[in-house]
Symmetry: C2
């Protein structure tokens, strides 16, 4: 698969004390590459997670949802090439076998072992291949975050990573994060597996509180095709090795800086997924203001972002505000045609429900030729606001998805 | 635009006593074809209508919603080439000017004149062109329903008509119906203008009751791209010229036969719109059973029908039940992964949440190569059922929509 034109270079990611990635080849598919990722986590690592809301979710997600409630993690396993979704009790047994195997190796509880799988649906994960892969990966040399990012990928066209740091009191804490995902991305976090590793010392409950809130403004505000995977997962692991005083709540010293840095990496990661949207040629930011509430603004934004007519218009570099109007109207949120204003690249093309005859078309046309497109929508109803991100809908999307399995 | 491979020949439609179509060229766009349709309706014609739920609807829709409450019609005007939507008070004035002009000609009330417009959004309908067009069309020779069907079309690749008849007591009543629409089709009736003409004698209230109920199982069960137009309208006109005893309610003689024939033409019309879906190569029927309720089944069906991943899989002739599972799961309706069964072309490929290893792949592959594809989904939760219709998502859709205005 050709590298996305919107790709970003993989950043310099620091090692995180207490989190050691390793990779191996389990051979889940008939390919030469590594497809099993193992991150060993030192004792005392806190964990938080957010998961797909798809009702037909995988066993990995069902188990993960329960495990994060315990708040502690010792290992992460990611299988690429087989999602193990829609595989009934055999799928669940395969995950549990991996958890036991890793727990035995680590000397921890099976519930400390987090497993994710991504790839084809409906084929139970082969436990023999998993076992052989684990035997290899336990003894593999530690690898870089970039190698891990490449190993968790499936249809991704580039490795995705993000970095942030924060001062917590006098202590500098680091965040290194990786993610995979390119299609089937929608709010409720589609085929997306994201992992944030930090050496910060933070209580699991506060880590979860931060991640859940940040999720609403990052992973839940991106969409590629409106479809929602059965396996989506974002986990944040905090090893505590930085040695800062434990952050236990919003009033702890450094809590704000910690949360801001976590939000920063999550925002970076979510944008990278859109930048690898299947067939994407343009990265689209949609800012909705003047809604009755923030949640209403987000729904309107997503209705626009998921509209095939809007997405194809942007692909065609057409400032087609009529399609934006249509998408606002179908969102079912409070709106008034005659108060609606729409702009492209910072230039209003329609105000108060009517097109502006005299707007300057040249900068708008120029803006739409670029790779980064901005759409502003003001509903004129209230103070609610939200920003969502998507990509355009192109021939590339059809080519990739009409010929996936064969 | 090339004729859709799923097109159907225009049927033989009988003249309807009391409903006389005429066409002319108003020149709403710079084209040589007729773009103004006028159907004169005799006194005593009953009318019913269903309209888009898009909040940003056109003035035509706003007015039409009020007019159908009065239940009587004397004329229908359809403008093609300019939708007059998102044009504020000037758009509304243009519609009211047409209503007055036609009412003066007919000697009726302006509220007896129904106006629809379809085409580009955001440009007020030019009243001078409308006036010139009306002057011509008032004196034009009556035309055939096929000519009228061609005149109301915009991006349509073939003229669409449907016929039915029913015995009401001893009286045979006829239905001749036309429709336009090809993209932006979704429940809540996207860019779709449909008109049913019958010579039956029926009370407006019962006509509306029938049409509203039928709409739920026909026009509200089709989708091309999930987008919803600002102008969608389906109107049914009953001239009463057949001379049957007036049908006033479900217990009137012939009421069942009348309703069944009306449902038949509406079903035909709705399927024709899907068959002209932008870029469509395959007509897809999705039958959902075992839902908690009929409404729940319809929502699940539409989630599948609107999934770009399902639609591209069918385009690729791939029995990708995994994507169907995903779409069921994201619908947010009651479902249980482990009770879900999925079939293609009458062959179950997954039962009770797991793929069937031994299903016969040959007939499924053969079925998917055809133009008409059937997907069965059983949720195993209850007795709710619904059938929805859509088309596949192909390169043709992208080509048409990424280069529409330019």
């Amino acid at each position: 698969m050709e590298r996305s034109p919107l790709a970003r270079p993989f950043p310099q990611l620091p090692a995180i004390a207490g989190a050691t990635p390793r990779i191996a080849r389990a051979g889940y598919k008939n390919w030469g590459r590594c497809d099993l990722t193992y991150v060993e986590l030192d004792e005392g690592t806190a964990v938080a997670g957010v998961f797909t809301k798809n009702i037909c979710c995988s066993s990995e997600v069902e188990l993960g949802r329960e495990q994060v409630k315990l708040g502690r993690a010792r290992a992460l396993i990611v299988n690429a090439g087989n999602s193990n979704a829609f595989t009934g009790y055999r799928g669940r047994e395969a995950v549990e076998a991996i958890m036991v195997e890793v727990a035995t190796h680590m000397g921890c509880e099976p519930s400390d072992v987090f497993v994710s799988s991504t790839g084809v649906i409906g084929v139970p994960l082969p436990t023999d291949k998993a076992r052989e892969g684990l035997a290899k990966v336990f003894h593999a040399e530690p690898c870089s975050w970039e190698e891990a990012a490449n190993t968790i990928g499936t249809t991704d066209t580039f490795a995705k990573g993000a970095h942030a740091s924060a001062m917590v009191g006098d202590t500098r804490v680091e965040f290194s994060a990786i993610i995979k995902g390119s299609g089937m991305i929608a709010p409720d976090m589609a085929t997306m597996l994201g992992y944030v590793f930090t050496d910060a010392n933070v209580a699991p409950a506060f880590l979860q509180q931060c991640l859940s809130a940040i999720n609403e403004e990052t992973f839940s505000c991106i969409t590629v095709d409106g479809d929602t995977s059965t396996s989506d997962t974002v986990l944040a692991f905090a090893t505590g090795k930085a040695g800062n005083e434990e952050i236990t709540g919003p009033d702890s010293p450094g809590a704000d800086a910690f949360a801001a840095a976590l939000a920063d990496v999550c925002r970076q990661l979510s944008h990278l997924v859109v930048r690898d949207g299947e067939g994407a040629q343009k990265f689209i930011e949609i800012a909705v203001t003047g809604a009755k509430s923030d949640e209403s603004a987000r729904r309107v934004g997503l209705a626009i972002a998921n509209s095939p007519l809007v997405k194809t218009a942007i692909a065609g570099e057409d400032a087609n505000w009529g399609r934006v109007v249509m998408a606002v109207g179908k969102a079912g949120e409070p709106a008034d045609r005659d108060r609606l204003s729409i702009g492209f690249g910072g230039v209003w093309t329609a105000k108060d429900g009517q097109p502006l005859a005299d707007y300057d078309e040249a900068p708008v046309a120029e803006h739409l030729k670029g790779q980064d497109v901005r759409i502003d929508v003001d509903l004129g109803m209230g103070d609610g606001r939200a920003t969502v991100w998507t990509c355009d809908l192109t021939h590339g999307y059809i080519t990739i998805n009409a010929d996936y399995r064969t």
